[in-house]
């Protein structure tokens, strides 16, 4: 055990020419560790299911998610409408499927934007330090100093109600700061570590040091942060919709469906239960996946069994 671990450390710290075998081995082992985490695997299954259902929505449902039918409002769940109908007579299950497209993509895309920006900025700040660090961190401070909801509200007004694209960009622009701090912290503490010194001492260039040594070791917190970020973005979208500023009807999103349902809860609880349930399922799955990833990607975790 001990020898294996220390040899891994050694291997990571020395700038040997990139050995594809070793790279594959590291990630495959992470993959296997991930599979040990039952909840995370369950999370992947559930999330994949949700994603597939949403993607194939038109094939799965004969109904149009936006077609109103005033004669059928508030029908409770039945064979023809497995989740019942909403306040305008639309089939709830269909809306859930189409809504999944919106809610899930908002989450993923917004965080993609945030992570890219955050890693870039945090990495540069952490690695180069000194005045670059100072300037970038002031930018981070400035962005962080705006209460997020404040800007989201104002953008909502400015863009006259937010479309998917706008929400993704705005959320991404407002969510990269924690990632950048994380990455910066990791870079800051890693760049002075022995293995980096070792790499430098044999003449490795900055670019290589970052790409081959620092970045892979900071990937773990980034990936975990990204996964949790997606969960957070989905919740933020639903909160925005609750305030009336998110995706505008008639386009369904789980968030705006939940908002409409809160005042109908006593009459038609299914209109509230299902969107809430799906948000919950998606977010819980993503959180489990993130947890699994965290355990899988940091080899030091698993070996701890004292």
């Amino acid at each position: 055990m001990a020898t294996l671990r220390s040899s891994r450390v050694l291997a990571r710290g020395v700038a040997l020419p990139a050995s594809s075998y070793r790279e594959r081995g590291q990630w495959r082992m992470a993959f296997e560790r991930f599979l040990e985490h039952r909840l995370a695997v369950a999370g992947i299954v559930v999330l994949a299911l949700l994603a597939l259902l949403s993607a194939f929505a038109p094939l799965l449902s004969p109904y149009n998610p936006e077609k109103t039918n005033l004669l059928l409002i508030f029908e409770s769940p039945s064979p023809s409408h497995p989740m019942g109908t909403d306040s305008l007579g639309r089939d709830l299950a269909t809306r859930i499927l189409y809504g999944g497209r919106v809610s899930l993509s908002v989450g993923v895309l917004a965080i993609a934007v945030a992570i890219t920006l955050g890693t870039l900025i945090g990495g540069i700040a952490g690695f180069y330090g000194r005045w670059i660090d100072a300037v970038l961190m002031r930018v981070v401070d400035m962005m962080l100093s705006f209460p997020r909801l404040f800007l989201l509200i104002l953008f909502g007004v400015f863009f006259k109600g937010m479309t998917l694209g706008v929400i993704v960009i705005v959320l991404g622009l407002l969510s990269w700061m924690p990632t950048s701090r994380l990455v910066r912290a990791t870079f800051l503490s890693l760049k002075n570590r022995d293995f980096v010194e070792a790499a430098r001492s044999i003449g490795a260039r900055n670019r290589d040091i970052i790409a081959r040594h620092i970045l892979p070791n900071s990937l773990a917190p980034i990936i975990v942060a990204a996964t949790l970020g997606v969960a957070g973005a989905i919740i933020t979208e639903s909160t925005l919709s609750f305030l009336g500023l998110g995706i505008q009807p008639p386009t369904p999103s789980w968030g705006n469906m939940l908002k409409d349902a809160t005042s109908e809860m006593n009459q038609a609880p299914w209109t509230a239960i299902f969107p809430g349930l799906f948000i919950f399922l998606a977010v819980v799955s993503i959180n489990f996946i993130g947890d699994g990833l965290r355990d899988a990607l940091d080899p030091r975790h698993v070996t701890k069994r004292i």
Partner: protein, 565 residues
Amino acid sequence: MKRFSIVLASVALVVAACTPTPGGTPASGTPAASEGPTRGGTLIFAMWQEPTTLAPPYLNQTIAGLVSQVAVEGLTRTDTDGKYQPLLAKSVPDINNGGVKLSADGKKMDVTYELLSGVTWSDGNPFTSADVKFTWENRMKDPKVVNRAGYDQIESIDTPNDTTAVMHFKSVYAPYPVLFPFLLAKHIAEKEADLSKSDYNQRPLGTGPFKFTEFVAGDHITAERNPNYRDKTKPYLDKIIFKSVPASEVAIAQLKAGEVQAMWNILESQTPDLEKESAIKLVITPSPSVERVELNTAANKDMTDPTSVHPVLGDVAMRKALVWATPKQQLVDKLLFGKAKPGASGYSQGWAKYTGPPQDGYDPKKANDELDKAGWVKGSDGIRSKGGVRASLTITSTTGNKTREQVEQVLSDEYKQIGVELKIQNQPSSVFLSGSWSAGDPRKRGTFDLNMYATSPDIDPHTHIFTRFHSSQIPSAANSGLGNNYTRLRSPDVDKAIDDGGATLDLEKRKAAYNTAVKGINDAYVIIWLYERASIDAFRTNVGGWQGNVWDNITWNSGDWYLKK
């Protein structure tokens, strides 16, 4: 850790058990006679919007007026039939009882108010005609006053004695009885250099059954019994507390739980739930507010071309079709749970109400035929076009209003059936209803095809109908956005009828004139009167004495409210 949680939980249970059940503190004393109001008790009234200020000159929100009314009174009020009643005045002056005198040339008038004697403000100081005069002077001087319409028609006010105020108008201003709905206390207000920055905003002085004692922003406003009220038997309640509950779902829960005993402005969609509760009574009062869809007949933004015509809506056949494709009754039944009436005109209540033939009803076949006849041909996507112009329109209304969103979706669907594409483009009310040319209110600028919102005329409809349908009131760059004629209606017949209505004091003649105007508006098919809303409030069954009023807030008779034992 677990220990901590257990302790926390048990503390919670103990605490919960130790507190008396919430509920309006019942009246003490007299065992209940089943009839007759009992004296005493505190009533908690939930409001989902809260007043920012209560001072009369700055009142703008409905809720601010509603709350103010329990303490601050005016010269007259309007009863549910739309008739003026005296409040602090002995009688309502008009041309028949000599209270209103026209000048020799008929162009000016004097209105004399005889005030009740022996009335005092809640701090004990006497209420006199000087207060009336001061109220008017303040209106004209204070730059932050909300509106001056009507007050600017008064040249001067004489106060020959403490109970008489003579107002000299420089024109014949027909709506004079609605002026002075709230009076200022001169002896307090005159001491302030800037009234808007004083405590008067939160606790204005009044002559009404209650007086304000506490204003905790964001939380509650307390009004206690006025010991100096002129009717010594009233008010029955000791206190009314207006509680701020921003989430209406929570307010309803509080109403059901008995934490609050009354609630303002219930949505139609919340009524089915409340109707099932035996302990709650809904007060449904028809209101003059009409939700409407306005059709923009001009194309030009900013109205730089006074003759501009909308490419799609300029065609009256298209407008007719849209009216005929609107399922008003269905909207009322399904979205408003029957708690409204399909719109017949914009002036549905009061002495000036429209009694002519109502607007056309739902007939989609007729709509389709009309469009076919007019040369609008359906394309492969089902949308019509004529002369290269596609029948694609947008509808704009306020965000965050569920009923409106639902209506828009239904309309979008219905119009698709007749081959018209309707896209929804809502904006927050701070933009869409800003009423400001410079701030870019789309209605002013003309940057809309269809818009939807609600507005209600005053008991005297003149200002309303004039600014909204007279051709001189089309906002444009040339007149810096003056006027509210958003449909850009240009009809000489309607203009004449409106002018006639404002030119005389004879109520019968005015009513006829306004009726003619509304018929003209309906025949021009520039506006779809969607539905006439009801105002819905709720009381728990242990509250008595309240009464709905079409023209006034539910608190108009707060002095009569009581809590049953």
